[in-house]
Amino acid sequence: MSAGGAGGLGARLRARLFSQRTVVLLPPYIWLLLFFLAPFVIVLKLSISEAAIAMPPYLPILDWADGLIPDFTGTFYNFSFLFTDDLYVVAYLNSIKIALVSTIACLLIGYPMAYGIAKAPGTWRNALLMLVILPFWTSFLIRVYAWIGILKNNGILNNLLIGLGIIDQPLPMLHNDFSVYVGIVYSYLPFMILPLYANLAKMDESLLEAAADLGAKPWKTFLAVTLPLSVPGIVAGSMLVFIPAVGEFVIPELLGGPDTLMIGRVLWNEFFHNRDWPVASAVAIAMLLFLVVPIVIFQHYQGKTDEAAS
C-alpha cells in the first residue's frame, strides 16, 4: 500500500517535472537567470566591495585564507557614501522630477493621439500606428542628435522664429532642462501611445453607447467611462516612460547642460571617469530600489485588471 503510494508520488513528481508546462516555462526562466539575475548578482557584489587601484578596480568580498569558512571583507560604505555627498541625492531627485514631468507631458500629448488613432476608421488606423512607430527605424542616437540641429541658437527652430519675426534674439533652447524634456518626451512618446492605444482600441463601444443612452453628454461619457477604463493603459504607458527616463543617460548627455544632473550621468562618471566601480554599482542598486516601487504598483494594477477581465 505504502510502496504503491510512494511509486504514485514518484510518478506524479516525474510527470510534473517533465510536463509540457515545465518545458514551455524553462527557457524564459533560464534566460532570466543568465541575463538578468547573474548580472544583478555581480553588480550587487560590486556594490559591497571596496574600491582599489587595481585590475579589476575592487577587492574581493570574501577572504578564503582561514580555511573552509570565508571571512566577509565587503563593506556597505558605498551606500552610506551616497548620502554623504548630496550630489547623489540631488541627482536622484532631479532624475525623478525630470522623469515625472516628462511622463505627464507624454500622457497629455499621447492620450489624445492614442484616442484619435483608436477612433480612426479601420483603414487609417494602421497607417497612423505606422507613423507612431516610424521613428524607431532610425537610430535613437541619431534622432537625439538631430534635435541639436533643431534647437541650437543657429538651428532650424530659432531661424524659423526669427524669420517669421516672432523673436529677434535666438531663444536658448539647447543644453538646458528644456532640451532634455524635449528629448525625453520625443523619444518616449511612442511607449506611451502604444499601450494606451491597445487599451482604447479594445474599449467596448456599447459601453459608450450605453452611457449616451443614459443621458451622458460626450465629455461626461469620456470622464465617467472612457477615462476610468483606460487607467490600466495610462499606468502601463506611464511606467514604460517613467522607468527608463529616470535612468536616461544619452539624452541628458547630448541635449542637457553642464548643470543638468541626472543619475544616469552620475553613474557614467563614477564608472568611466572616476573608475570607482563599487560606488557606481551602489548608485545602480539604489536606482533599482527606487524603481521597484513603481514597478510593484504596475504589477499590482496588471494583476487587478487581469482578474477583472477573467
Binding site: 453607447e209 443612452d213 451622458a216
Partner: protein
C-alpha cells in the same frame, strides 16, 4: 408590405391586442438605412402605441437591431422620419432622447458597482443624492437584486447581469424602453421565468417596450404585437395569434413555428371555399373561403400547421370526404408533452404532424414505417400567394 397587411385581415380575426384609438406613440415613417451599398432597413413604416409590448422578430441581419438603434439615436436613418410622441427625432442625439435601451451585451460599466450602474442615468439628470439612492433601491428591489448593490458586474451571474441592465434602463422611468435580445444570453429555464418577469414589470410600470428578438417563441410569449422582418422589410405585422394562424407569406409561415407547405394551383373558388390542386399532396386541398383574393389558375402555397393535422392508423380511416391523405411514418420524435411524426407521402414529400400525448401510454401506439391517414379540416389551411 405592411399596408397590404392592413387591408387583408383574416376571416376570423383573433382577439388579443386591439389597436387603441388615438395617435401612435412612435411613428416610423418610410425609414431607410443604408450602410454603403447594403440596405439594412428598407422603407419601413410602423406605428407603435402607448404601453405596447412590441416585438421586432427576424433572423440575424434582417435589420431589426438597426431599426432599434435608430429609435435610440445610435444610428441616424438615411431616409424617412421617426416621430416620438409627435416630435421628430431625427438629429436628436441619444443623450437627449426620453428613450432607454437595454443592450444585448448588457453593457454594464465594469468599473462601477451594481448600484452605481443603476444610478448612472439618474446622476446625468442632476437628480439629488438622496433621491438617487431611493430610486436605485426601488429599482434593485423591482429586479430582486437589493442584496447585490455593492457587487461589481463581473461578480454576478448572467441572469443577475441581465436584471441589472434592466434596472439601469428602467431607472430613469423612460416612456419607451428598447430591449435588444434581452434574454438571448440566458439558459432556457431562466429565460422562461424572466419572460414573465419582464411582462409583469412592463404591466406594472406601463412603459412601452420594443423588444428585438430572433426567438419566435419569446416574441409570441411576450408581445402584444409582432413585426416579422426579413431583409430590411416588415413581412407581417400583427398579434402573436394573427401572425401564427394567418401568416401572409411563405417566409412568415416558415419562420414562426413549423409548417407544412404544399405548392399548388387554385383549381376552383366558390362561396363555400377554395380548391387547390396540390401535386405534392396528391389530392385537392380544400380551404375556407374569404382569406385570399387568389383567382383560379393562380399558383399558391397552402400552409398547414403540424398540430392541425390529425393522424390515424390504417384501419381507422377518417370519415370526412376531403383533405385526407395516406402516408407512411418516417420518423417519430417523442418530446414528452407531445409527439412529432414525420410522415412520407406517396411522392416522397415529408409532412410534419404533432399530437399531444394526452394519456400516459397509448393503447395502440403508431409505429415506424406504419401506413397512416392524415386529415385536416377546411379551416386548417392558409393560402399564401407570396
Amino acid at each position: 408590405m405592411s399596408d397590404t397587411a392592413e387591408k387583408r385581415p383574416g376571416p376570423h380575426k383573433p382577439s388579443g391586442w386591439a389597436v387603441p384609438g388615438g395617435d401612435p406613440y412612435i411613428s416610423i415613417q418610410n425609414v431607410t438605412k443604408r450602410f454603403g451599398e447594403f440596405v439594412a432597413v428598407d422603407n419601413v413604416s410602423l406605428d407603435i402605441y402607448r404601453s405596447e409590448l412590441f416585438s421586432l422578430l427576424g433572423a440575424s441581419g434582417c435589420g431589426k437591431t438597426t431599426l432599434l438603434r435608430m429609435l435610440a439615436g445610435l444610428e441616424e436613418p438615411t431616409e424617412g422620419r421617426i416621430l416620438l410622441d409627435g416630435q421628430d427625432m431625427v438629429g436628436v442625439p441619444p443623450y437627449e432622447r426620453p428613450v432607454n435601451m437595454m443592450f444585448q451585451s448588457y453593457a454594464l460599466f465594469p468599473h462601477m458597482t451594481v448600484a452605481q450602474n443603476v444610478a448612472f442615468g439618474l446622476k446625468q439628470e442632476g437628480m439629488g443624492k438622496g433621491e438617487v439612492e431611493e430610486r436605485v433601491e426601488q429599482m434593485l428591489g423591482l429586479v430582486q437584486l437589493g442584496r447585490f448593490a455593492r457587487r461589481k458586474p463581473h461578480q454576478l451571474s448572467g441572469g443577475q447581469r441581465q436584471r441589472v441592465a434592466l434596472a439601469r434602463a428602467l431607472a430613469k422611468r423612460p416612456k419607451l424602453l428598447l430591449l435588444d435580445e434581452p434574454l438571448a444570453a440566458l439558459d432556457k429555464k431562466l429565460r422562461e421565468s424572466t419572460q414573465f418577469e419582464l411582462m409583469n414589470i412592463q404591466e406594472e410600470l406601463g412603459v412601452t417596450f420594443i423588444v428585438v428578438t430572433h426567438d419566435q417563441e419569446e416574441a409570441m410569449t411576450l408581445s402584444t404585437r409582432i413585426a416579422v422582418m426579413n431583409e430590411g422589410v416588415i413581412q407581417q405585422l400583427g398579434t402573436p395569434s394573427e401572425v401564427y394562424e394567418y401568416p401572409r407569406t411563405r417566409y412568415v409561415a416558415d419562420f414562426i413555428g413549423s409548417v407544412n407547405l404544399f405548392e399548388g394551383t387554385v383549381s376552383g373558388t366558390g362561396a363555400e371555399g377554395m380548391r387547390i390542386t396540390a401535386p405534392e399532396a396528391g389530392i385537392d386541398i380544400h380551404v375556407d373561403a374569404g382569406q385570399t383574393d387568389a383567382r383560379a389558375g393562380q399558383s399558391v402555397a397552402v400552409a398547414i400547421r403540424p398540430e392541425k393535422i390529425a393522424i390515424a392508423k390504417q384501419d381507422d380511416k377518417p370519415s370526412q370526404g376531403e383533405n385526407v391523405i395516406q402516408g407512411i411514418v418516417d420518423e417519430i420524435a417523442y418530446q414528452g408533452s407531445l409527439s412529432i411524426y414525420q410522415v412520407r407521402l406517396a411522392d416522397g414529400k415529408l409532412v410534419r404532424v404533432t399530437t399531444p400525448n394526452l394519456t400516459r401510454t397509448a393503447e395502440r401506439p403508431i409505429d415506424w414505417e406504419e401506413p397512416v391517414w392524415l386529415s385536416w379540416g377546411r379551416h386548417a389551411g392558409v393560402v399564401l400567394t407570396s
